[in-house]
Symmetry: none
Subunit: 231 residues, 4 copies
């Protein structure tokens, strides 16, 4: 029986040594750049292995310095995590402000264009590995960083409220129909979250097969329900 070293490391996940010293040890980097490199490395390791299983050694190696050097920038593993959460959850990471709102005087054509702009932004973000990793980390380890999460929560609520208000105005001004979607903007975003979770759980080939169809159906949904009744 081959000796499996420890059991707290997934057999499925490749060892971090496979990507040794991604950054080739640039000495004495400006502190700010180093912090960014470290947080990039931390995002990778945390989302790959989870907070508990990620090792400071691996984060340091991926950031191109030694474990000791890492501690010159962050006082603890938790500090790295908190800082990462802070950076991740800067406004509009999960949602940007391009979701269909209601600028004055909106022709149907421009509504379709706006929907397409929204979808383009949202589904493009799904292709960004960092976005998926971030969301995964948020879901998986969020409860570990309640304060950081609190910031995200507030942000998230504010954005949704703004969008909801915009919807309401759009309906009142007649550029959008009153529908389930304008009643709860959550419904507009739900398919994107679904897609993101699928990317976390299903294999890539299946997801990349489904994504375009999901996007098309999502577009159809929005264009079926958002435009005003007549025209």
């Amino acid at each position: 029986m081959p000796k499996l070293p420890s059991s707290s490391r997934s057999a499925a996940a490749g060892p971090a040594q496979d990507v040794p010293g991604r950054t080739p040890r640039n000495r004495r980097l400006p502190a700010h750049e180093r912090r960014e490199q470290i947080l990039d490395a931390a995002l990778h390791e945390f989302s790959e292995r989870g907070f508990g299983a990620a090792r400071m050694d691996d984060i340091a190696a991926r950031a191109g310095l030694s474990k000791g050097g890492l501690y010159a920038h962050f006082g603890s593993k938790d500090a790295v995590f908190q800082a990462l959460m802070q950076r991740m959850l800067l406004p509009s990471l999960l949602f940007d402000d391009r979701s269909p709102q209601a600028p004055a005087r909106l022709s149907r054509t421009s509504l379709a264009a706006q929907v397409d702009g929204f979808l383009e932004g949202a589904y493009a973000r799904l292709e960004d590995d960092r976005f998926i990793r971030t969301l995964h980390l948020l879901i998986a380890e969020g409860p570990r960083a309640p304060e950081a999460i609190a910031g995200w929560r507030a942000d998230h609520l504010r954005l949704l409220h703004e969008q909801q208000a915009g919807m309401r105005r759009a309906v009142e001004s007649g550029v959008m129909r009153d529908s389930a979607l304008t009643e709860m903007v959550h419904l507009i975003h739900a398919p994107i979250l679904l897609a993101a979770v699928l990317k976390m759980l299903q294999d890539d080939t299946h997801v990349s097969g489904i994504l375009p169809r999901l996007r098309a159906a999502h577009r159809r949904l929005l264009l079926e329900l958002l435009p005003p009744e007549s025209g």
Copy 2:
């Protein structure tokens, strides 16, 4: 920067010692029962702390035996996790088969009833702590148990395919309208996943405030798009 005591244990989760000897050490249980107890305990500990931070001691204590005794039933922490995933994902996790399908000859009334049945089942499950825990664990630690996940994937795909086929038949037979929802059943389920993720991330008071409104809007969405054109 405040120094966190040990850093690898969540500050949010209370220590397991707070609930000592939950099961009062029933000696010599039939192996089958013990396994169930252990998996129950494991679900609790894993979802509370994550796989990495959960301790075999705590799982054992919660299951009412010693750590050594635990190892008589599962050869490793990973094995516990695998078995847990196996057991959890037997009944299709995210969906049951009550989502709106198309029995022959369906009046609009019965479609509404069917929609309500679907929503009732889905949103009731959201109130089940075990469901949320399980889904959280699936998302957070899924990649750790690729084989167990593979089973879930297959299940999930099969169910979706069946539902999609049902939708197609319903459209062809005229009991449902051709819409974004019938084109991609995913869109029907997306709001529920959104709700589940909100439950994981937002505080309970906010979520319980939103949930009924989300459910109402979800219902409205389905009833706006599913029924056939005429009526």
Copy 3:
């Protein structure tokens, strides 16, 4: 690093599960037979893995009963070891009394015959796996069982003294020459010990190639030095 299950078990030695339940669980065997079976199993496991690494489970399984059953016969792992040593070191395990001695009136012919008898016995024992295992165990773990070893020591000394006395008489009576070999009988046995140790350390093919040549040279040595000068 692939996860190796435990580290205290040699990767080179096959797991004991490979030979599961060598004896097919005969229930309620006479105590004496069971003890013998257990000691056989223990000899195998101890010599294969060493005392420390041998497991009571494996010994029990090899003996055809459960761990609990084993403890009905021996109170502890040490007790098994002690009993094994006792049994192993019954007189003349390592040496028998056929080494060349001096019966009255010994022609040179019969000396050669006696040498051959001695060699036959000694080198035949080298082919006996149990002999090699026993000697290996004696060397490897002897210090663990000082009392058992004490018995062997006494035996060993007594036998050598007898042989030495026999040699002296043979020289005095003129049937053997006074030589290094008669001065120290140890020298007569040394090549056999060498062969045994080689069997423990070198690979079988090499040893089986060397053994006949060693035996021939050993024979030549004895016949060169033991017979009286003239004739």
Copy 4:
């Protein structure tokens, strides 16, 4: 039956705590020196208790660092053992090259001198505790480190072949007699192995009483058989 306390620890060997902090914790030693200290400590512990019963804590303590520090130098207990075997077996363990060979033009006097040199080296090594420990470890735990052993095997065979060839040349050039000893050099070394094994198994007082006599007889054996017939 007297119950032995823990049973997996030899009653004969004193606990390592009796010699606490043998090395007074020199912090930050160069890695190379530390490795040597660790291997020294490992030789002691392994040979005292056997591989299985030796504890990493004790090895670390004896080497003057903490258990964790030990693992910075060797990845596992097995790795320590392998490295130890490697180091131990570099200089040919059992034989050096001073065994009687045949330099050109060798008078009988110088042959005797050469024999004495050989015996001096061999029996001096028997007084070296490290030699006995090493040999004991090789016999007792050799099968655990097949790769390390492979190196030793090759070495051992090479040395014997060279000696054998030297013997053949010595016989052909007439400086040695053709005898059992020149036919198989093993016979020359056998008494030394016997002495070593006796040191492992018999008590010191007995062995130190026998050793000089064995050495004398060994000398006599060589001088009786090696010199050429004439004189």
